[in-house]
């Protein structure tokens, strides 16, 4: 067996973790936008969000275990979860540990979501937007492959995709289902000789309705 296998495994699992993490956050951002189709129903995308996030944790464990076992750099198991105590690159490894801890908190609260306060779950889940850039900074700061052309292209694409998704989410964010603005008054003047009444205005989703649910 190649004696560098742990080192390569640590590097590649870190890179794959970034891709999976990006896929997770993209699916998470797009969920409330009600993205979906007949072939990709919303529950399937929500399931992908969950399953990819679980897969990410597995990859992150592989990432941490392999780099801790490898003796090319002096990194310990504790460095994976305790930030800023490492002998090697404490700042950049600390970012990785913070991100890993945040992701664990996200996973645990999401698995317990039906049993805990929903507001607590939601406020913790917003930390995804913190953990992802921290993880990316960790990868760029300490990743052996991050500053190569391929690494920069991957990181750039990930940033572009997430920024685009966030912009989409902000533009098309949830609007209240009922428009509380008073209805616009109908035009007072009636064309002379208009026999037919004006057609009913077409209601779009989200507009006020008097129908009770």
């Amino acid at each position: 067996m190649n004696e560098q296998v742990l080192w390569f495994a640590a590097r590649s699992s870190g890179m794959v973790s970034l891709l999976l993490l990006t896929a997770t956050i993209l699916l998470g951002i797009l969920g409330p936008l009600r993205v979906g189709s007949a072939n990709w129903p919303r529950f399937a995308l929500a399931g992908l969000h969950r399953n990819i996030s679980l897969l990410t944790v597995v990859l992150l464990v592989v990432h941490a275990v392999t780099i801790a076992l490898d003796d090319y750099v002096p990194i310990t198991f504790a460095d994976a979860v305790v930030p800023f105590v490492s002998q090697y690159q404490p700042f950049w490894l600390g970012l990785g540990a913070i991100s890993f801890d945040l992701i664990l908190a996200l996973i645990v609260t999401s698995l317990l979501r039906p049993r805990i306060n929903l507001r607590l779950w939601r406020s913790i889940h917003w930390l995804a937007y913190v953990s992802w850039p921290i993880a990316l900074a960790h990868g760029i700061g300490v990743g052996t492959d991050a500053t190569g052309p391929l690494g920069l292209i991957i990181a750039g694409l990930c940033v572009a995709a997430v920024v685009l998704a966030v912009i989409l989410r902000i533009i098309k964010r949830d609007r209240p289902p009922i428009d509380f603005a008073p209805p616009k008054p109908a035009p007072a003047t009636k064309p002379v000789g208009a026999a037919r009444p004006a057609p009913e205005p077409v209601r779009r989703p989200g507009e006020f309705s008097t129908r009770t649910r």
Binding site: R34, F43, P114, R115
Partner: protein, 77 residues
């Protein structure tokens, strides 16, 4: 840890219209009992859950992004 009572056969699905955000996953997962109105909010059939739909109902309840869907032993009224 307090556990949520799971949906059982014979129970009735209920939706909390205040917390519901019209994501629509309940209607995808349980079309036998949930239809969507024109704004995407669920309209429940109101029948007791038949045994063969219990597993699907549990999944629909668990997937609701705001936990607005619940199963209740008593019918609406």
């Amino acid at each position: 840890m307090a556990s949520i009572p799971q949906a059982e056969a014979g129970q009735f699905l209920r939706v909390n219209p205040i917390t519901c955000v019209a994501r629509g996953m309940c209607a995808e997962l349980l079309p036998e009992q949930v239809k969507l109105d024109e704004w995407g909010y669920p309209i429940l059939k109101g029948d007791p859950l038949p045994p063969h739909l219990v597993a699907h109902a549990r999944r629909a309840v668990a997937e609701c992004p705001t936990l607005a869907l619940r199963a209740d032993p008593t019918p609406r009224g």
